[in-house]
Amino acid sequence: MAGSSPPRVGVLALQGAYAAHIESFRRVKNEVRAVEVRNSGDLAECDALVIPGGESTVISKLITSAGMKSSLSEFVADRPVWGTCAGMILLSSAASDAEEVIRFGAIDIEVVRNAYGRQLDSFETELEISPVGMFNAVFIRAPAVSAVGEAVEVLGWDMSHPSLAASINSGYSDTGIPVALQSGNVLVTSFHPELTDNYALHEYFLTLI
């Protein structure tokens, strides 16, 4: 963080739940400036970045058409970054759907898009997230982590979908699915803290800056 001025957190505002994230950062107890990022110039002024939920295919296309692919790739390689849902997909390791979705590889995990199913399979559940405690997690057409690299710490598990966990096999658990993970200053969640009035994960992300 530069000097004593509050950190500037950018929220990628090409498509999706960016307004909800900015609203959440307005309510945290820390001092922070949350701003919309729509081009590389906006990004260059930020200390940290959130890539929100939305449609990963759409956000990927808009990143390319806005000419932001290389600046984002550089940013997420060493700056604090948090991806929720679609944002988690974009930060994950390369997969076979490269034509449709950008994967920056900022965190060593494999992610399956729409793994939980359609909107009828969206759900809300109470989870333990290790740095912040119990959290009411809202999952919307959520992706699922299917493999986790050695340097990645799992902060929270969804234990309510054992059959899905068994079928995607996340490597070291066939009963739970990792839903919050961290590697250095990269945080990902497959659920949506910005849709609840619990701001603990927003506050936790600010500690990574």
Binding site: K61, E100, N114, Q119, V138
Partner: protein
């Protein structure tokens, strides 16, 4: 995931999907091929229907829910959410759409109404609903019935943005007035005038916004139309006939997507508006016999 694993969705879950669709474009499609074109162009969701509103207007007759086979065909080729329309009040069409696993149900005035008094009880469904509105009272009545997303009705199938602009301005204008109300007594009067539940009027007074997201629909034909809707406070846009009734659907669809994201940047909207070919032929409001926006109660 099997049916038996499911529990009834919470309000956050039902309303959450609309948050994910924000800043995006939902496109009407009538075939799997069109759905693929829409997805490749950057649509955030597709609306599966049998005929686009412009054709419904020309063909006349009774417009109904689409053939389930056609909806399944579209679900099979898309990874983005699939929405579908049910007739106003036709709860059995809505039951069928939920059984097909569509991601959103549009209880739509574009189809021929099935009930002239009652809208569907949308709380009875696990799939979220979007409903059209021409003014704030109508929007709040739909929310009171369980709608998770409101869109302006505009005048579908005309390629003419004028009615959608009227509806957006009316809804936003009344929200601002309610937020500026001086006391509870004024809110009682607002609830009476709007024929809407007092609790929702009080919620608007507290938050200064509609309790659910508001998107724009009805008559969007160009990137500029989409950007104007966004600048007027819409959080996403529906494009019906405007894409696939134009000369070159794919580039137009992509341009509307970019204009919706960069709605506040005239340089980008200008850039993407170039060389798109003919937009759909529009119709003036004095040239139409049927006002779809008048359907709904």
């Amino acid at each position: 995931m099997t049916e038996t694993d499911r529990t009834a969705p919470t309000a956050s879950v039902k309303r959450g999907l609309a948050e994910m669709l924000k800043g995006g474009v939902i496109m009407d499609v009538v075939t799997p091929e069109q759905a693929k074109i829409a997805q490749d162009a950057g649509a955030v969701a597709v609306m599966a229907l049998e005929r686009v509103p412009a054709d419904i207007r020309v063909d006349g007759g009774v417009a109904r829910m689409s053939d389930p086979e056609m909806i399944e065909g579209i679900q099979a080729v898309t990874s983005i959410p699939v929405m579908a329309k049910a007739r106003i009040g036709h709860f059995v069409e809505a039951q069928i759409l939920q059984s097909l696993g569509v991601d959103y149900i549009d209880e739509s005035e574009v189809l021929t109404p099935a009930d002239e008094t009652h809208h569907i009880d949308k709380f009875a469904f696990d799939v979220p609903f979007v409903c059209g509105a021409t003014n704030l009272g109508e929007a709040l009545r739909r929310i009171a019935e369980g709608a998770c997303l409101i869109r302006s009705k505009g005048e579908a199938g005309t390629g003419n943005i004028v009615e959608a602009v009227r509806h957006l301005r009316s809804i936003q204008g009344d929200i601002k007035k309610i937020a500026a109300a001086n006391d509870e007594a004024e809110l009682f009067d607002w609830a009476k005038q709007l024929q809407a539940p007092l609790s929702l009027v009080q919620e608007i007074a507290d938050t200064g916004r509609l309790p659910v997201p508001m998107f724009c629909a009805g008559g969007i034909a160009t990137p500029a139309d989409a950007a104007m809707a966004m600048q007027l406070g819409a959080e996403s846009v529906f494009v019906g006939s405007g894409i696939f009734k134009s000369a070159e659907p794919a580039p137009r669809a992509k341009a509307v997507v970019e204009a919706t994201t960069h709605y506040n940047n005239p340089d980008i909207v200008a850039k993407v508006s170039r060389g798109l070919g003919e937009p759909m032929t529009g119709i003036g409001m004095d040239q139409i016999d049927v006002r779809l926006a008048e359907r709904g109660w």
